[in-house]
Amino acid sequence: MSGYLVRRALQAIAVLAAMSLLVHVLLALMPGDPVDLMASGDPRMTAADLQRLRELHGVDRPVLERYAAWATAALQGDFGWSRSFRRPVLEVIAPRLWNTVLLMGSALALALAIGLPLGIWAAAREGSMVDRVVNLACFASAATPTFWLALLLMMLFAVRLGWLPAGGLPPAGSGLSGGLRHMVLPVATLALVEAGTYARHLRAAMLEALAENHVRTARAKGASRMRVLLVHALRNAMIPVATVAALGFGGLFSGALVTETMFAWPGMGKLIYDSILGSDFNVALVALLFATLLTLLGSLLADIACAALDPRISLAEAGRE
């Protein structure tokens, strides 16, 4: 187990290093350079000032040289300064990282709470009306653009009915219920587009599991229908679902980015989007790296869940190949 974790950690470091280099090169290709932006904010700057600023920030040096300088500083814990927030990058990112984890975690929990029972229900009544409706709903859920669902929910619950706020964080001092009210729409949006995938995969896996010998034996021994479904079949059927979840964290983060942007939820996704559009490249780079770390951690957790569910999978061997 510890060997496995070490291997995964090394992989993650390699991925982050590659990612930081790639994004660094890409960010150098963005329109506008930081010094021009500073100059546009201060009309008194002269050409000589600009040149000095360029040298100070190293904008005039080659990309790889700048990357090396950034990486050296980053390894010492200095991730740079945010131009638009006028604070160190890490201070900008920390609260937003928590907001995103909160959003993604709640949405994933809700998606599983909706998707898994539906998948079991559909599999238990294969071919029935229920099965067909769930099947269609799953296709609809997987095909719905997240931003459009966000728009619809906003239109219905915030504009038409006025039940829930259309976005943002609760004002300070509004307490737990105020916080929850602001979370409802973003979490529901993200959960609804994710739920279909889980329901579909669980249904397919349940059908497969229900046809297995041990399930037939359980039935023959007189186990109740519920017991067969929830105890004997479900455990095996959860394995492919855990695999889907492990591979799904990248997609979940993409969904979170859209949801955060739509509902003005101050999380990592919105931060990445805003900082790229606002040319705050120090923030964009580090936020992207943290987002990558987040999705890698998510898949690691799901892999561990997979191994816990399936005694045939040994983590010690899984990483080796």
Binding site: L29, M30, A142, A143, L288, S299
Partner: protein
Amino acid sequence: MSPRRGLGRAAIALAATLALLCAAAPLVEAALGLDHEATDLLARLEPPSLAHPLGTDDLGRDLLARLLHGGRVSLLVGIVAATIAAVLGTGLGLAAGYLGGRLDSILMRLTDLVIALPLLALLIVLAAVDLTRLGVPEDVARSPEAGLARIVAITAAFGWTTVARLVRAATLSLRSRDFVRAAVALGASPARVMLVHILPSAMPTVLVATALAVGEVIKFESVLSFLGLGIQPPVPSWGNMLTNAQELIWTAPALALWPGLLILATVATCNILADAAAARMRPGSGAGRR
């Protein structure tokens, strides 16, 4: 007729209708006397009428005509990018599945990695890259065609993973079949075995995976365009038609309805088609011919 088959047929009908209508957008426009580019500031946000079957948008442009033209763009991007992704993914999947070994494990690691990345964030970075800094002339970089080509390139560059995984799985099962082993025994080169013997049998899988990829690409295109980083106005796409809709949800909710509904229908259609085709390919699933 099994329900799944019925759904599959409905999907084919819907796909054909949508594709035909969008492809024939200029004809439909001419027949109905509409123009997707003509603005009419005196007729902004009009409700549906005879002159404008679905009403007009915030600049007084006809909504139906823009939806059809937007569909042309969205479908074109989806099909072209998915085809490129399919060719790429098929090549990688064949090589990984047939040659196996180190190559296989590296390719599959790479696939898992691409899937695990926060892809949309990366696509946003790619979409924001200034093409002139790569040596593309200013006027070319700002043209609508360059915008199209860019979105096709970046969605294709990340859209190959599903195809590669599915084709690899198909190749693995085909590799040990007698006709393939006979070809190997007769001295066929690996390239010949892959392209002449395995690929034709893996073609149904490739098509299923391509249909899935079309849906995926259309979703990515729509969200990038919505965020202002994909297809640029005034060229309409279903995604960028929704950009303004967000500010108009108080005054004109209908504007937000149609483009999203069409994206939903198109992507669902692709997925249902792929699912129905995959069910037909599975032996003994009861959905086969017979």
